[in-house]
């Protein structure tokens, strides 16, 4: 008997995609990286007079075995400055969507063909014209779609907003306004920020921040303006995911930001940090099966307004990194009992720190500096960097650093990880060859 071995295509690409702060990705994401990430893509705000001044996607080699470890190996400028902020992969991890909070422009980068050299392949400029929303913030993959949580609206530019859903081809499917009426006895403020889905519970959580009027204004002015301080989100919303309808609104004062579901099998809770009150909140079902939100911990000294920003949960749901922007501190919380998180480690990792991403195995932690162009510190305190650390469970040890000012890149913001998928060949247009082995 002759045996056939199949050669599917003429073009073999030992490439693919995968990621690093894996625990914050959508549950619909394929190809999680559970080993060593190879690249970090940093969505970077352009700074006038620095380099080309435009927002750009910066790619850094983070493979310790590489000759260019810790170096910038690629950059894609989008040719304008629009307050680059967050990004998110499509469900197949081939594309990275990124948004501008000021311009409301959405950029789609191909990171699947060659993660070392992302390409800008699509620009979506009509988000505001088609939805009325401003400030695309969270990019959350759903099967064949991208759900985008926005921060503001074109009419008042305050925090009342909604979510826009696109298909992966970049066409708007529909939009969902954040609730402003009462649901479950609590009145919605209509504000938006993060999105986090738990498919097994048919549950989607959203949080709330502030509108364009606040996030595009100098932080000192905002804090000094009592009226402006009234315009921060103070709610979270639980949605029936399938129906995309709000089922309960929780009162969570002080701008609840990033939301992370525990990925530990059997866990049934999510956690968030409220920026202005410096509190950790737990969202969990009570004994009767009803979702409840409750304050479970304090981050730093709330009286000093340390401003907790990004968080990163460990893959087993037992630990949580929290960055506080104002004091440049990275905190680690033991979440063994999510009802009572315990801060077990702190380290000043910069003069200002915002994003924090950990590898799936928890051994590597990456910190980026910028919060918002007009909220970042001034003068010598305006450090702009990506810093990599190794974590042995006891201390963060510096691994490498990229100075984004010295490199004339801009303000380092959101990070996403990729890696080439070894042992993969594309099933692309080419030839099928049947080789008979006798």
């Amino acid at each position: 008997m002759s045996m056939r071995s199949i050669v599917f295509c003429g073009v073999l690409i030992v490439a693919g995609a995968a990621v690093a702060d894996e625990t914050c990705n959508s549950p619909y994401m394929s190809k999680l990286i559970k080993g060593q990430e190879q690249f970090i893509h940093v969505w970077t705000l352009g700074v006038e007079g620095l380099g080309d001044g435009s927002d750009k996607l910066v790619t850094i080699d983070v493979d310790p075995k590489s000759k260019t470890y810790g170096k910038v190996i690629h950059r894609v400028s989008v040719g304008e400055r629009g307050e680059a902020h967050h990004m998110g992969f499509t469900d197949d991890r081939k594309y990275l969507w990124a948004g501008g909070l000021d311009s409301s422009v959405i950029y789609v980068f191909d990171v699947g063909s060659d993660p070392a050299k992302p390409k800008l392949v699509r620009t979506i400029s009509d988000l505001t014209a088609t939805t009325g929303y401003v400030g695309p913030h969270t990019f959350y993959a759903m099967p064949g779609r991208m759900l985008i949580g926005n921060l503001s609206n074109a009419k008042t530019k305050d925090g009342v907003t909604g979510m826009a859903q696109y298909n992966n081809q970049g066409k708007l499917i529909t939009k969902f306004d954040m609730p402003v009426g009462a649901v479950g006895g609590v009145k919605g403020d209509g504000y938006g920020y993060d999105i986090a889905i738990n498919p097994a519970k048919n549950a989607m959580l959203t949080s709330s921040f502030a509108g364009w009027n606040n996030y595009m204004r100098d932080l000192g002015e905002v804090v000094g303006d009592p009226e402006a301080m009234k315009h921060f989100g103070g709610t979270m919303v639980m949605w029936d995911l399938k129906a995309m309808k709000p089922t309960k609104i929780f009162s969570v004062p002080g701008a609840p930001l990033e939301i992370r579901w525990s990925l530990n099998e059997g866990d049934n809770w999510a956690i968030t940090a409220a920026a202005l009150t410096s509190k950790l909140w737990l969202i969990k079902r009570d004994g009767e099966g009803t979702w409840q939100a409750k304050e479970v911990g304090t981050i730093g000294d709330p009286a000093k307004i340390p401003l907790p920003v990004d968080i990163s949960i460990s893959a087993n749901g037992k630990g949580l990194w929290v960055n506080t922007f104002m004091d440049g501190t990275t905190h680690y919380f033991d979440l063994s009992n999510p009802e009572a998180p315990k801060e077990t480690y702190t380290k000043v990792t910069g003069k200002q720190v915002n994003m924090v991403s950990q590898s799936w195995d928890g051994k590597r932690v990456y910190i980026a500096s910028s919060l918002l162009a007009k909220w970042d510190k001034k003068g010598a305190d305006d450090e702009q960097f990506l810093r990599a650390f190794n974590w042995d469970g006891k201390a963060l040890t510096p691994a490498f650093e990229v100075d984004f000012t010295k490199e004339k890149l801009g303000r380092a913001h959101h990070m996403k990880f990729t890696a080439r998928s070894s042992g993969q060949a594309s099933l692309s247009v080419g030839s099928i060859t049947l080789s008979d082995a006798h």
Partner: protein, 229 residues
Amino acid sequence: MRTSHAGLVALACALASIARAAVDPGSATAPQADFVPPAPGSYTLQRIQTCPDGVLLDATARTSRLSSHTTGKITLLTFFYTYCHDPWGCPFAYQTLTGLRERLLAEPELARRVRFVSVSFDPTHDTPAVLERYGSHLSDTRFEWRFLTARSVPELMPVLDGFGQDVSVVVDERGQPTRTVDHMLKLFLIDRHGIVREIYSLAFLQPQVMLNDIKTLALDESAGLAAIR
């Protein structure tokens, strides 16, 4: 060199597992559904995208447009290959679909308004004759399940790209393709006009939800027909 078929498959699987060590292909457990899905008709299924078209081969080796298989009935379409061994890939989709078929057969009126379509990733191996042997017993007067392939990979690729169905071939340590196709499991729910209304990946492959979605589309269509009358 002469190699047994079973040996080749085993080798491919071994190489595939090596190749996948760094990158997890997806969830390692069956999807959980710890909730009561909303009732059929109580929610809206969005119009996600128009189905791509292309020329395919059916199990009798006749060529036809894909659109002839994705319109006229509520359609659940998936891509597969007959010799897939990934327990959370094609076999799991097959198990889900056969279970759903049984539930639909319990409601004959609804079953007549639904079809399944399975399109092979591998036109080289999965010839019409292979598909005939693989799936002919699943389609009868009570329920329609069509198995399709392509004349070539170049003819299949636009269909895959149009659906956003990622796929790659696992290669061995020498860079040679194995018989393992790495793909993200997706099922596409399509209305009778050829519009994709829901996409299920592994985390979302919940039979009761899928049945309710089918009923929701059927209710939409009935309401639409009533309005026309």
